[in-house]
């Protein structure tokens, strides 16, 4: 990137960037808008809590699930949230490893987004359980009866995949945050903030030894995180692919899911980037060039996802399996055809506008396309789950699925569960990596001068 052009305007001072970014949590500039957003998010969170109380009191029967569609919103939204989460890791870790410095303006909030999206995703398998209080049976602990988890089960793999991913994401996010926490500590004027940032910055003094160790640790975690993105979402796809249900039982699923995850994740990153930069006036740090790059990544992952769609159809046709063909026909023309065509339209039609540079560089246009992709990917997961289950092998078990109020309230509630900590994070944590932005700025300046 650096040899092309500068992604950050070079006519700004390092101290200015530091002040600007640490100033956001310390002297919050958009108190009113933040409060309104927080109120909205808290209401959603409240709805989530009410839904969960209802759920735990009465059972998963408050949802619309039945036999045969006994997996629906819980698994559906689990996959959706987890997919969103992946983009943060990809942006941060993959681009760090490939030394794509343009990431530096985006990685912090992308990682933050990952963290909270994974929490939203991770809570769903718990809510999904018929008897959630026995969740711990999925862990290998020394039970008195010597019962172990069943290691052939994709759900068991899933537990490990998500926990590993959450741990590594957190480690990566936190490692990356340490120098900035220190910067915030140094600028904090109130006692409380000083203590808070003092503890969380783990005694960072910015010595060369610190930077060396830090850099090693950071790159090492990144090196762990990148394959995890692939493995975790591949594993998630095995929840489906390991079953024999037509529409699920396909080897295309792991890459198809990973691409879809990255696709939806980059869309959410775009949404957040565009919102934050207009919210906090960060156009000097999250530039149109950033948006341009995001747009390119979006269309690239989108086209890869589209490839998955094409190959899914090809697979079914090529196999000639009557049940696979039945499911394909059900998807395209059945009762839930709107999810299939909805997914195609929302995912791929507005996306084509990104071929134009002007669209990629215009915040609101990229925003709309990203929202469309998020909806499209949500519909895709709905489609994969419901259209496969509602009509599987035996005609006599064919049925329908209709989400209930509680399905929706739990789902929208998790958006609150995502937004509340995210809003808290942008309120209290430097949302753009200060030192990395400065590093990039410094490099750019050096190039300019040198």
């Amino acid at each position: 990137m650096t040899d092309q052009s500068d992604i950050l305007p070079v006519n700004q001072s390092m101290g200015g960037v530091s002040d600007q970014l640490t100033g956001i949590p310390l002297h919050f500039p958009a108190e009113r808008r933040w409060l309104i957003a927080m109120l909205f998010a808290s209401l959603l969170l409240l709805m989530f809590m009410v839904s969960v109380v209802e759920l735990f009191t009465r059972g998963v029967g408050i949802w619309g699930i039945n036999i045969p569609v006994n997996w629906a919103f819980a698994i559906h939204n689990y996959v959706w949230w987890l997919g969103i989460g992946h983009a943060g890791t990809l942006i941060s870790a993959l681009l760090l490893l490939t030394q794509s410095e343009w990431r530096n303006s985006l990685n912090r909030f992308a990682e933050t987004m990952t963290l909270f999206a994974v929490i939203c995703a991770g809570i769903y398998p718990v809510l999904h359980l018929g008897r959630p209080w026995y969740l711990y049976w999925m862990f290998p602990y020394p039970a008195t009866m010597n019962v172990w988890p069943q290691f052939r089960s994709p759900l068991e793999w899933d537990i490990w995949a998500v926990l590993t991913y959450l741990t590594v994401s957190f480690a990566f996010w936190y490692t990356g945050l340490i120098p900035d926490l220190a910067a915030a500590r140094d600028r904090a004027t109130k006692r409380g903030w000083q203590i808070f940032f003092g503890i969380t910055s783990l005694g960072w003094r910015g010595s060369a030894a610190h930077w060396l160790r830090w850099s090693q640790a950071y790159r090492l975690t990144a090196g762990l995180a990148v394959p995890l993105v692939v493995s975790v979402h591949s594993e998630v796809s095995l929840l489906f692919a390991a079953g024999q249900i037509p529409g699920w039982h396909s080897t295309i699923f792991p890459p198809y899911f990973v691409m879809g995850a990255a696709f939806s994740g980059f869309a959410v990153v775009s949404i957040i980037a565009i919102s934050l930069r207009s919210w906090f006036g960060l156009k000097n740090l999250v530039t149109d060039d950033h948006l341009d790059l995001l747009g390119m990544v979006l269309i690239a992952t989108g086209l890869m996802t589209a490839y998955g769609y094409v190959f899914e159809i090809f697979d079914a046709l090529y196999s000639g399996d009557a049940h696979e063909l039945q499911t394909l026909a059900d998807r395209m023309t059945g009762a839930y055809a709107w999810t299939y065509w909805g997914a195609i339209v929302f995912n791929f039609i507005p996306l084509q506008a990104l071929w134009w540079r002007i669209v990629r560089r215009t915040g609101w246009m990229l925003m709309l396309i990203s929202i469309s992709v998020v909806i499209g990917m949500w519909l895709e997961r709905y489609m994969i789950l419901v259209t496969s289950l509602y009509r599987d092998f035996l005609v006599s078990s064919w049925s329908h699925f209709t989400p209930t109020f509680w399905d929706w309230s739990t789902y929208f509630g998790t958006i609150g569960l995502f937004l509340v900590p995210f809003l808290l994070a942008i309120r209290f944590i430097p949302m753009i990596s200060i030192f990395e932005t400065e590093e990039l700025l410094h490099e750019e300046k050096e190039e300019e001068h040198g």
Binding site: G130, L155, S396
Partner: protein
């Protein structure tokens, strides 16, 4: 009986209170009075303190209840198989007895645990059941524990005691004896009980002018009226299907629900299996409303109900019977008649022609003449098994009531306020009767209107007797002491006869003392042990009388036919949750009834399933939801009886529409009427939404020309095969024998404590049955072929579910049974998602009955009651496998063929289900697995199911196959 309420718990017997909560007890005024008397200090307590006190005292009150039990009217109730020295907790006792249906005995063996019956099965030694059941027999045990039963006598809705009843009867008897019983009328449902019939005779001896009326809204009585018109005498028909080669049915659902179902289905299946190269019996069915018989028929003709007489006459003409004229026939009718005639001529005396119970006289006349001409040796006659034979009709009673001739009306075992045709005006006429007594299990619509409601004992808590459809008598012995303050019908009849405090078994003993003679005690004990008294009713000969007249339904319009409901019958089982939730054959509807219309009519009137239709007959109408029935005759509309009840109880109230409301009194089965859409619609609780096979070979067929299916290769598996223990369980289901009757589903429900989830849950697709009867159509909707396929768990050897569960909650055992470990299940539902057969059921909510509900008494203690959030499914009745193992181990031997019989297998009237050890090459199940018709469902998936199928025979009309 009075001794049971002498000391404890006020005026109520104490035993029944064991079933109730202490909270319920504390609300009872009689109980409070007793507490106040026993513990005067408690009367001063504040309500909360008093409640606390009652809770603390619960144990001793319960003991008081037990004390009541010891004084139960159990007298010499003999266990069927063995008579233990003393009750062993955890070991069931089995009694031979009977329950009744449509007046007939259904001979059963009742499994009781610590004195409470939990499961009924057909009596294996009885000539009619031979161990088989139907849905009504299976569900009878739940009727016993119905919390909405009448629990004590009431007078005008106010609680009364039996002393009050005795006093009132004494008063009534005084007035009856003044004028020889003038003004005393009894209205009863059909009865086969020798004791009751004897008591009725005795009553008429005491009061010669008393009159008895019979009211049967559905069932065998309808056919008897037809036979009286045709043969000049009331007769019961007996089909000897075992020796039959060809059956030609004119709208006779001989394999469908009814008292004869078990017998006919058994004979049908036995004949069908006579040869391994072709079906041993052929069925030609002309049908207006699709039913089991048409579904099993090789050649089914669709014809309107009012056309049956024409077809029967044409068939007679084809056989060359004099006087018969062949009318204008369609090519389809022509072809069907030719084929049926050819087959009948070939079968000669081994052919049987039948007409429906609910058909017209014209058809019955021609069918009788045809059988006579064929000299059919497979049709036998006997005197009617149920009676009383000389009873007057309900119409006569209403006329008498209107005329003010009825002073006292005793209504016994029927519910005319609900089941009488609305046009009769029974309820209005009832207001003119001074004294009314209703004897019934429930304070139903009729009990509500009567002065006295005298609660009856359930058959399972009664001493009584009854005859099965062939006339073989069973002595009904109680399997449990009555737990409400109720009396048997014989006790109440004895009261009416002037006896004071009659013992529960006195009348029954008296009846049989006369017929057993000198050796009474031994024969009585033997009869109780066997569950029946050898000897069917003697055969009589009958020829159709020449001058029988047929009448055509008056008026123009659509044929509106009435049918009893296949699961709740005429409404008497409305409050039995098991039967409400049992999918009705062919429609798979639960919790309601529909107006079935033909696809052609639906197209003409643009009707969709669930659209509300107004059916009008004369000036009466009723509104019910439509169901488009593939294979229904174009201009026939079918209404099913039994719904729209208002006083059935908490389960059965307010469901469906009341077809009695439009039923004409003079045309109870076929009437002319019209139809219109109301513009509203409703959601129907059906368990199967899609009915075509969509080109998949789920149900396979073979023909006589190709009696074997092509063998498929079993795909390889990643996982090695499981090592097998000595026994390896497998099940084979013969699709050629399955008549879709649901007895297996009901039996499984009873055996495995399968919960009832209710209409709303069925609508969202959460019914819990462990075995479902899949029903498929093939061909055009106008004239489809119908198939039944029972689908329990396949117990796959390479089970996708086992691989999916993260916590080992579903596991393979060494005998090849795929097991559910309920207490290990955390409810991820992965097993169900991965199950290609979707046979698993999930407790989405807490489906258990409320803790204080008496229906828990029907629970099988050998089977865990599942809590919410837990997956469940067919276990091959693992509890039965284990107890068979235990029994064999005690005798230090291996398991033998027949040691393990699953509940569904035991119940199946056609023996379509075979279960056994596939490691034993000589077992029946191994033999069937080698049969040419054998196949596995979705075998291409490599799941290697242990439950497999035998293909159905395809035997078309034109001698094909």
């Amino acid at each position: 009986m009075t001794r049971r309420r002498s000391n404890h718990v006020g005026a109520k017997p104490a035993g029944p209170r064991l079933w109730s909560s202490i909270e319920e007890l504390s609300g009872d005024p009689a109980f409070q009075a007793w507490v106040d008397a026993e513990y005067p200090a408690a009367a001063e307590f504040t309500p909360t303190a008093r409640r606390q006190f009652l809770k603390l005292m619960g144990a001793s009150f319960a003991l008081a209840g037990l004390a009541g039990c010891e004084k139960s009217p159990f007298v010499a109730a003999l266990p069927y198989v063995d008579q233990p020295e003393s009750e062993t907790i955890g070991v069931p006792r089995i009694y031979a007895t009977a329950v009744t249906f449509d007046g007939y005995a259904q001979p059963v063996i009742a499994t009781t645990w610590s004195g409470r019956p939990t499961k009924l099965d057909g009596n294996p030694d009885h000539p009619v059941t031979m161990g088989r059941s139907d849905v009504f027999m299976q569900a009878a045990v739940l009727g016993l524990y119905d919390p909405d039963r009448a629990q004590a006598p009431t007078r005008r809705g106010e609680p009364a005691t039996w002393q009050d009843v005795v006093a009132a009867i004494a008063l009534l008897r005084g007035s009856w004896s003044k004028d020889q019983g003038e003004g005393l009328h009894l209205l009863i449902g059909p009865q086969s009980s020798p004791t009751l019939l004897r008591q009725l005779d005795a009553l008429r001896k005491q009061f010669p002018k008393a009159q008895i009326h019979l009211h049967a809204p559905a069932g065998g009585a309808a056919r008897r009226d037809l036979m009286a018109a045709v043969y000049g005498q009331p007769l019961d028909l007996h089909y000897v299907l075992d020796d039959c080669d060809v059956v030609v049915s004119f709208d006779d659902d001989l394999l469908g629900p009814g008292a004869n179902q078990v017998r006919n289905a058994r004979g049908w299946a036995a004949s069908r299996r006579r040869s391994s190269r072709q079906p041993g019996i052929r069925l030609y069915a002309a049908e207006s409303v699709p039913a089991a018989t048409g579904a099993m028929a090789g050649a089914r003709l669709m014809a309107d109900a009012s056309r049956m007489a024409v077809l029967a006459e044409a068939f007679a003409a084809k056989l060359g019977i004099s006087g018969a004229a062949s009318g204008d026939l369609t090519p389809a009718e022509q072809g069907w008649i030719e084929d049926a005639a050819k087959a009948s001529n070939a079968a000669k005396s081994r052919a049987l022609v039948t007409s429906g119970s609910y058909g017209d006289v014209g058809t019955a006349i021609w069918v009788a003449r045809i059988n006579d001409a064929l000299k059919s040796a497979v049709l036998k006659f006997s005197q009617p098994v149920t009676g009383p034979s000389d009873a007057a009709s309900l119409g006569d009673l209403v006329a008498d009531m209107r005329a003010g001739k009825v002073q006292t009306l005793v209504i016994l075992d029927c519910n005319p306020a609900y089941t009488a045709p609305a046009g009769l005006g029974f309820t209005d006429a009832l207001k003119q009767v001074r004294s009314t007594l209703h004897l019934g299990l429930q304070r139903d619509e009729t009990g509500e209107l009567c002065e006295w409601q005298l609660p009856l004992t359930h058959a399972l808590e009664s001493w009584s007797d009854a005859r099965a459809v062939d006339g073989t008598a069973s002595i009904i012995q109680p399997t449990i002491a009555p737990f409400y303050d109720v009396r048997s019908v014989h006790q109440i009849m004895a009261m009416l006869l002037g006896e004071i405090d009659p013992a529960a078994d006195a009348a029954v003993r008296q009846t049989w003392r006369a017929s057993f003679g000198g050796d009474f005690d031994a024969r009585w004990q033997q009869a109780l042990y066997d569950g029946f008294v050898e000897g069917a009713l003697p055969e009589v000969s009958a020829t159709p009388s020449g001058n029988a007249k047929s009448e055509k339904p008056a008026g123009k319009g659509l044929d509106i036919v009435f049918r009893p409901d296949p699961t709740i019958w005429d409404g008497q089982f409305s409050n039995v949750g098991w039967l409400q939730e049992l999918p009705k054959p062919l429609t798979t509807l639960t919790w309601g009834n529909v107006v079935t219309v033909s696809p052609a009519l639906a197209k003409r009137l643009t009707i969709a399933n669930g659209d509300n239709l107004e059916v009008m007959i004369g000036d009466r109408s009723v509104v019910g939801p439509a169901w488009i029935m593939p294979g229904q005759a174009e201009n026939t509309v079918s209404l099913s009886l039994g719904y729209g009840r208002k006083r059935a109880g908490r389960v059965g109230d307010g469901l469906g529409y009341d077809a009695y409301g439009v039923r004409p009194a003079d045309q109870p089965w076929i009437a002319k009427g019209s139809l219109r859409k109301t513009g509203t619609n409703e959601t129907l609780a059906v368990t199967q939404l899609h009915h075509r096979m969509e080109g998949f070979d789920l149900v396979r067929e073979v023909t006589a020309a190709h009696p074997s299916l092509a063998k498929q290769e079993t795909p390889p598996s990643l996982y090695p095969p499981w090592p097998s223990a000595k026994n390896a369980w497998g099940m084979v289901i013969d699709l050629d024998s399955c008549i879709g009757c649901n007895a297996c589903v009901a039996a499984c429900t009873a055996e495995n404590n399968v919960p009832v989830v209710g209409k709303d849950q069925v609508i969202v697709g959460r019914e819990m049955h462990w075995i479902r009867i899949a029903r498929y159509y093939e061909g055009e909707a106008d004239a489809p072929r119908s198939f039944f396929q029972p689908v329990p768990c396949m117990h796959c050897e390479q089970a996708p579910c086992e691989m999916g569960c993260p916590v080992h909650a579903t596991e393979h055992n060494s005998e090849g049974v795929n097991q559910m470990v309920y207490n290990r299940c955390i409810g991820t539902r992965t097993c169900s998602s991965y199950c290609p057969y979707k046979v698993r059921r999930f407790n989405f909510l807490d489906y258990r009955a409320p803790p204080q509900s008496p229906v828990h008494a029907a629970d099988n203690p050998d089977v865990t009651v599942r809590s919410r959030g837990v997956m469940e499914k067919c276990t091959y009745c693992t509890q039965r496998i284990e107890s068979a193992h235990a029994a064999a181990d005690k005798e230090n031997r291996g398991l033998r063929e027949g040691d393990v019989v699953t509940a569904c297998q035991a119940a199946c009237p056609t023996r379509a289900i075979t279960f056994g050890d596939i490691n034993d090459p000589d077992s029946e199940v191994s033999r069937l697995r080698r049969d040419g018709r054998h196949y596995a469902l979705l075998e291409e998936l490599g799941t290697r199911p242990r439950t497999t199928y035998l293909a159905r025979w395809r035997d078309g009309g034109g001698g094909e196959g």
